[in-house]
C-alpha cells in the first residue's frame, strides 16, 4: 500500500469485468498488458475477487495491490479495477455509468439471463465507456444514445415474459443448489 505518486495519465481503468453469482465470467476486459497477462492469472484473480466480495456488499475493496469498486445486482457482480493510488471516485464514476447504462438498455432487468440475451449490447456499452483503459464517456445517457441498442425484449414481449419467469425460477433453483 505504498504511495508512489500517480503519473498523470488518462489510463485510469486497469480492468473491468462482470461475473455471475457462481463467479463465472460473462465479460471481462484487461487494459494493462502487464497486469495478469495470461488467461489463467486473470481467472484466478477474478475468482479471488469474487470470493472476497460476494458475501458483503461493500462497494469497495483492496486486493492484490489493486483498488476494486464493485456492485451487485440480483445475480450479477460488476467490477472496476484501478491501481492502488487511483482516485476511487473516478473508478466509481465508471462503475455507476456502466450500471446505469446497462439498466437503461436492459429496461431495468439487470440480471444474468437478460445480460446474456443482450450480450452484444453489453459489449457495445463497455466499449463506449472505456477504450483501452481510458474513460471514454461517463454519462450513462450519452452512452445509451451512442450505442443506440434495441433490447430484444421489445420484439418478443411474450417470450421475454416467459423467459423472465423461467429464468427467475432457474436462478432460484441454482441458489437452492448452492445452499
Amino acid at each position: 500500500m505504498d504511495s508512489v505518486a500517480l503519473e498523470p495519465s488518462l489510463y485510469t481503468v486497469k480492468a473491468i469485468f462482470i461475473l455471475d453469482n457462481d463467479g463465472n465470467r460473462l465479460l471481462s476486459k484487461y487494459y494493462d498488458a502487464e497486469l495478469y497477462p495470461s488467461m489463467k492469472e486473470q481467472k484466478n484473480f477474478e475468482k479471488n475477487v469474487f470470493n472476497k466480495t460476494q458475501k458483503a456488499d461493500n462497494e469497495i475493496a483492496f486486493l492484490e495491490g489493486l483498488t476494486i469498486v464493485y456492485k451487485s445486482s440480483i445475480d450479477l457482480f460488476f467490477y472496476v479495477v484501478g491501481s492502488a493510488q487511483e482516485n476511487e471516485l473516478m473508478l466509481m464514476a465508471v462503475l455507476n455509468c456502466l450500471f446505469e447504462s446497462l439498466s437503461q438498455i436492459l429496461r431495468k432487468n439487470v440480471e444474468r439471463r437478460c445480460v446474456l440475451d443482450n450480450l452484444d449490447g453489453v459489449f457495445l456499452v463497455v466499449d463506449e465507456i472505456i477504450d483501452g483503459g481510458v474513460i471514454l464517456e461517463s454519462d450513462p445517457q450519452q452512452v445509451v444514445e451512442k450505442v443506440n441498442y434495441k433490447c430484444v425484449s421489445e420484439q418478443a414481449f411474450g417470450f421475454v415474459l416467459f423467459d423472465y419467469i423461467t429464468g427467475n425460477m432457474e436462478g432460484q433453483g441454482q441458489k437452492s443448489q448452492l445452499l
Binding site: M1, S3, A5, L6, E7, P8, S9, L10, R25, L27, S28, K29, M39, Q42, K43, K52, A56, N58, E59, I60, A61, F62, L63, E64, G65, N87, E88, L89, M90, L91, M92, A93, R112, R113, L116, D117, L119, D120, G121, F123, L124, D127, D131, G132, V134, I135, L136, E137, S138, Q142, K146, V147, N148, Y149, K150, V152, A156, G167, E170, G171
Partner: protein, 873 residues
C-alpha cells in the same frame, strides 16, 4: 428470431446460459452464413456475439481459422444494420492481433469514419487506429487531424483517445497534431476537454516549460470536466515536486483552490495531492484534512474508504494533524465495510493515546478474520509502530500477534507478524520468553522456509541465554526430523549454539548432532560434522570464532578473492585477511557459518558500496599494489554548498596507505577546468606519495581526482592527522552556450577546508552477535583499562552516540540503546583495526554531574589497544 436460436441452444441442453457449451468449431462453421446473400443481420449478429464471447472466455483461435472468420466478417459491411456494424468494429479490434491481413478493412473503416452517419464515425476511428501501423498512419493523418477538431464530441473524443494510444507507436506523427489537440481542449464537451488535456500532456511531458505554460493556461481559464481537473491536479503536483517549488507557488494555490470545487472527485484528488506532498506543514495540511473529515461521514462507502485511507497516510507522518478527526474515525470503527473499519482503527492507533490501545485492540480482534491479507499487514504494521511508541503495551500486543499467527494467511502477512514479534523481543527484554514461545509454536506448523530459518536463527541467538534453554531444544530438534533441507540445516546451526553456550546441555546436544550426521542432505551433514568437531574441543575461543560469530567478510568480496586465488595457484594458503570486510553490519541470515541453501531466498546479494569503490580503485594503475581496500568513509564536504566548485572527499583506507578520492564538480558554465588535482599538506608524519589528476572537468559534470598518502610505519599510533587542502587546476574560459573553450588557459588554485583523518578511519565496523564469547576469544593478554570524565556530556544517550561516532565501531548486543531512567550503562563495541586485528571495547558509563567512563580495550595486537586508548584520551 434470435429467441429461436436461444431456444434451440436450450433444447440442446446448454442450461440457462445460451453461450455455455459453445464449441469453437461449430461457431466457426456457423460463420459461413456471413457469405450468404442476402445478409441476415440478426443471425449474423448472434454469431459475431458468440465469437466475441468465446474470445473473451479465453478460447484460443488459430491464425488460419481466425483469418478465415475475419475475412468472412468483412462481407457484413454491406449490411446497414447499425448494431451489426458496431459488432463488426468490435470483432476487428478483438481480432487485430490474432488474424492476418487485418488492414484489408482499412478502406471500409475510413469510409465510415468520414461518412455521414455520426453513430459510426467514432467507433470506426477507434477500430481503424487499432489496426493501423506507423506506415499506414501517414495515409490517414489528414482524416485524424480533421476528426480531432470535429464538432461531434464522440468523434473528437475517439480521435483524441486513439491518438493517445498511438503515441507509444509513432510519437513523431502524433506530435504533429498538437495544434488540433489544443483546439479540442477548448471544446465545450467535458469529455473532449479531458481527452485533449491528456493527449497534450502526454506529448509535452518531457518539456517542463511547455507543461508549465499549459497548466498556467488551463488553471486560469477553468475547465468544466471534473476528470480534467483531477488530471490538472496530478500534473501540477508532479511539476511542484520536480521543480521543488515552494508551497507559495501558484500551482499550490491552484491545488488548494480545488478543495472548494463542487465535485467530490476533484476535492478528494486535491486533498490527496496535498497529503502526498513531501514536507507539508501542519497548517498547509489542515484544509485537506478537514475536507477528508467531512468525507468520513459520507453515505458512499467508496468516499469513506478514500478519506480514511488518505487520513491513514497523514497519520504516519503527522499524527497530530489527524487528531481532530478522532471522533469521526471512532464512528467508522463499526463500519460494515471491514476495510474502512480496519483503516479507521489503525489510524486511531497512530493518533490515539495509550489508554485507548486496549479498547481498539479488542475491537479489531473481533473481525480480523474477515479482512483481506493486505489489510492484516496494515494492522500488523500499526501494531509494530505502536510497540515502539508505548513499550509497556507489549503484553497486549504479543497476545494479539500470537492469535494472528495462528490464523490462516499468506506469506507476506506471516512475515509481517514474525518481524513484528522479533522487533518487540529485541526492544523489550521482558517479552523475550513469551515471544520466543509463540515463535516456537509457530514453527511447529510453518510452511514458509524463509520464516522457519529466520526463527531458528533467532532461537539459536537468544535461546541459550534464557533461564531455561533446554525447553527450546525440543522445538529445534523437531525441525531436524520433520522439515526440508534448508530448515534442517538452520536447526543444526541453532542446536550448536545451545551446545556451545550451555555446558550442561552439551552432552545431549552432541547426541542429537550425531543423529544429524546421518542426514540425507549434504549441507545438513556437513554442518553437523563441523559443529560436532568444534564442540568436542570444548574451547571457548573456538566456539566463539566458529559458532557464535561467523565470517565478517563481504560475501561478493570473498567470492572474488577465492576466484582470483584459483586462477593463480600458489603454495601459500588462502589468507582470509586479504578479503575486504563487509561494510554494513551484516544481517542475521548472513552470519550463518556456511551460507544456507540460498536457492530459495529470492534476493541476491547486491555488491555493497565498498565493493564498488574497490572495483573503481583497482582500475587505476597507481593503486594496484596497495592490496585490498580496508574501509571507505562517508563523503566529507570540503566546500560550502553554493560555491564555484563543489568538492567532497571519500577516504579509502588500505593496509599501509590511504587514498583520498576528491569528487569535484564545476558549477561555472563559462569555465573548463583541466588537470585538476588536490594538494595536501599533512600535519603529522604522513607522506604524500602521488597525485592522480582529473584530466578535464567541464561544467556540471562531476569528475574525480585522487591523492595517495603513505601512513607512517615507524609510529603505528599516529592515527589522526589534519590535512590542509588546495585544489590546483588549469582554467580555460569558454562560451557558456556552446561550451567551446579558449585556446589558452591559466593556472589557478582554490583553497578547500581542512580534512581530518581520525581513528574511526582505521577501524571497520564488525557485528559480533555474541559479544561475551568474542570477548573471551580475544583474551586479556593485551587488555588495558582507563577511566575518563566526560564533563561536557549531559546524558548517557549523548555519551553513547559520541563514543560510537568517534571510534567508528559497531555497537553489539543492542547496547547502543540506553534504557530510560538509568544512571549507568555498558556499551559494547566491536571492530577490526587496519591490518586485520580484531578490537573490542567495553565502556562502562555512569551518570553523575557529567558522565564518567571506564574504557576497557582488548585486541590481539598491543599497538591497537594503545591507539584506541590514546585517541579516546
Amino acid at each position: 428470431m434470435i429467441k429461436k436460436f436461444d431456444k434451440k441452444d436450450e433444447e440442446a441442453g446448454s442450461g440457462s446460459n445460451p453461450f455455455q457449451h459453445l464449441e469453437k468449431s461449430a461457431v466457426l462453421q456457423e460463420a459461413r452464413i456471413f457469405n450468404e446473400t442476402p445478409i441476415n443481420p440478426r443471425r449474423c449478429l448472434h454469431i459475431l456475439t458468440k465469437i466475441i464471447y468465446l474470445l473473451n472466455q479465453g478460447e484460443h483461435f488459430g491464425t488460419t481459422e481466425a483469418t478465415e472468420a475475419f475475412f468472412a466478417m468483412t462481407r457484413l459491411f454491406q449490411s446497414n444494420d447499425q448494431t451489426l456494424r458496431r459488432m463488426c468494429y468490435l470483432t476487428i479490434k478483438e481480432m487485430a492481433n490474432i488474424s492476418e491481413d487485418v488492414i484489408i478493412v482499412t478502406s471500409s473503416l475510413t469510409k465510415d469514419m468520414t461518412g455521414k452517419e455520426d453513430v459510426y464515425r467514432g467507433p470506426a476511428i477507434r477500430a481503424l487506429c487499432r489496426i493501423t501501423d506507423t506506415t499506414m498512419l501517414q495515409a490517414i493523418e489528414r482524416y485524424m487531424k480533421q476528426a480531432i477538431v470535429d464538432k461531434v464530441p464522440s468523434v473528437s473524443s475517439s480521435a483524441l483517445v486513439s491518438s493517445l494510444h498511438m503515441v507509444k507507436m509513432s510519437y513523431d506523427v502524433v506530435k504533429r497534431w498538437v495544434n488540433e489537440a489544443q483546439e479540442a481542449a477548448s471544446s465545450d464537451n467535458i469529455m473532449v476537454q479531458y481527452h485533449a488535456l491528456g493527449l497534450l500532456y502526454h506529448l509535452r511531458k518531457n518539456d517542463r516549460l511547455a507543461v508549465s505554460k499549459m497548466l498556467n493556461k488551463f488553471t486560469k481559464s477553468g475547465l468544466k470536466s471534473p476528470f480534467a481537473y483531477c488530471m490538472l491536479i496530478r500534473i501540477a503536483s508532479k511539476l511542484l515536486e520536480e521543480t521543488e517549488g515552494g508551497h507559495d507557488s501558484p500551482l499550490f494555490d491552484f491545488i488548494e483552490s480545488c478543495l472548494r470545487n463542487k465535485h467530490e472527485m476533484v476535492v478528494y484528488e486535491a486533498a490527496s495531492a496535498i497529503v502526498h506532498m513531501p514536507n507539508c506543514t501542519a497548517r498547509e495540511l489542515a484544509p485537506a484534512v478537514s475536507v477528508l473529515q467531512l468525507f468520513c461521514s459520507s453515505p458512499k462507502a467508496a468516499l469513506r474508504y478514500a478519506a480514511v485511507r488518505t487520513l491513514n497516510k497523514v497519520a504516519m507522518k503527522h499524527p497530530s494533524a489527524v487528531t481532530a478527526c478522532n471522533l469521526d474515525l471512532e464512528n467508522l470503527i463499526t463500519d460494515s465495510n471491514r476495510s474502512i473499519a480496519t483503516l479507521a482503527i489503525t489510524t486511531l492507533l497512530k493518533t490515539g493515546s495509550e489508554s485507548s490501545v486496549d479498547r481498539l485492540m479488542k475491537q479489531i480482534s473481533s473481525f480480523v478474520s474477515e479482512i483481506s491479507d493486505e489489510f492484516k499487514v496494515v494492522v500488523v504494521q500499526a501494531i509494530s509502530a505502536l510497540c515502539q511508541k508505548y513499550p509497556r503495551k507489549h503484553s497486549v500486543m504479543m497476545n494479539f500477534l500470537s492469535n494472528m499467527l495462528r490464523d490462516d494467511g499468506g506469506f507476506e502477512y506471516k512475515r509481517a507478524i514474525v518481524d513484528c514479534i522479533i522487533s518487540i523481543i529485541e526492544d523489550n527484554p521482558e517479552s523475550k520468553e513469551t515471544g520466543l514461545a509463540h515463535l516456537c509454536e509457530f514453527i511447529e506448523d510453518c510452511e514458509h522456509t524463509v520464516l522457519a530459518t529466520k526463527i531458528l536463527h533467532l532461537l539459536g541467538k537468544e535461546g541459550p541465554r534464557t533461564p531455561s534453554p533446554s525447553k527450546y531444544i525440543r522445538f529445534i530438534f523437531n525441525r531436524v526430523v520433520l522439515e526440508s533441507e534448508a530448515v534442517r540445516a538452520a536447526a543444526v546451526s541453532a542446536l550448536a549454539k545451545f551446545g556451545a553456550q550451555n555446558d550442561d546441555l552439551l552432552p545431549s546436544v552432541l547426541v542429537l548432532m550425531q543423529r544429524c550426521m546421518m542426514d540425507s542432505d549434504d549441507e545438513v551433514r556437513d554442518r553437523a560434522t563441523f559443529y560436532m568437531n568444534v564442540l568436542q574441543q570444548k574451547q571457548k575461543a573456538l566456539n566463539a570464532a566458529y559458532i557464535f560469530n561467523g565470517l565478517s567478510v563481504s560475501i561478493p568480496g570473498l567470492e572474488k578473492s577465492l576466484h582470483q586465488y584459483t586462477l593463480e595457484p600458489s603454495e601459500k594458503p588462502f589468507d582470509m585477511k586479504t578479503v575486504p570486510l563487509a561494510t554494513a553490519p551484516i544481517t542475521e541470515q548472513k552470519t550463518e557459518i556456511a551460507p544456507v541453501a540460498t536457492s530459495k531466498l529470492p534476493e541476491k546479494l547486491a555488491p555493497s558500496r565498498q565493493d564498488i569503490y574497490q572495483e573503481q580503485l583497482a582500475a587505476i594503475p597507481e593503486f594496484q599494489a596497495l592490496g585490498p581496500l580496508f574501509k571507505s568513509s562517508e563523503p566529507v564536504q570540503l566546500t560550502e554548498a553554493e560555491t564555484e566548485y563543489v568538492v567532497r572527499c571519500i577516504k579509502h583506507t588500505f593496509v599501509g596507505h590511504m587514498v583520498f578520492q576528491f569528487d569535484c564538480t564545476n558549477t561555472l558554465n563559462d569555465q573548463l577546468l583541466q588537470r585538476v588535482l588536490v594538494q595536501m599538506e599533512p600535519s603529522e608524519a604522513y607522506e604524500v606519495v602521488q597525485h592522480v589528476a582529473a584530466q578535464s572537468l567541464p561544467y556540471s559534470q562531476p569528475g574525480s581526482c585522487y591523492t595517495l598518502v603513505r601512513l607512517p610505519e615507524d609510529d603505528p599510533t599516529a592515527v589522526s592527522c589534519t590535512f590542509s587542502c588546495a585544489m590546483k587546476y588549469l582554467v580555460r574560459d569558454c562560451d557558456p552556450n556552446t561550451g567551446e573553450p579558449d585556446d589558452d588557459g591559466y593556472d589557478d588554485e582554490y583553497v578547500l577546508e581542512d580534512l581530518e583523518v581520525t581513528v574511526a578511519d582505521h577501524i571497520q565496523k564488525v557485528l559480533k552477535p555474541n559479544f561475551s564469547a568474542a570477548w573471551e576469544e580475544v583474551g586479556d593478554e593485551f587488555e588495558k583499562e582507563e577511566t575518563f570524565a566526560l564533563a561536557s556530556v549531559r546524558t548517557l544517550d549523548e555519551a553513547v552516540g559520541n563514543i560510537i561516532s568517534f571510534l567508528g565501531m559497531q555497537p553489539c548486543e543492542r547496547s547502543d540503546k540506553v534504557p530510560e531512567n538509568k544512571n549507568s550503562h555498558i556499551l559494547f563495541l566491536a571492530g577490526v583495526f587496519r591490518g586485520g586485528h580484531d578490537v573490542l571495547v567495553r565502556a562502562r558509563l555512569a551518570l553523575a554531574d557529567g558522565v564518567t567512563m571506564q574504557v576497557t580495550v582488548r585486541s590481539v595486537d598491543e599497538n591497537v589497544v594503545d591507539v584506541i586508548l590514546a585517541s579516546v584520551g
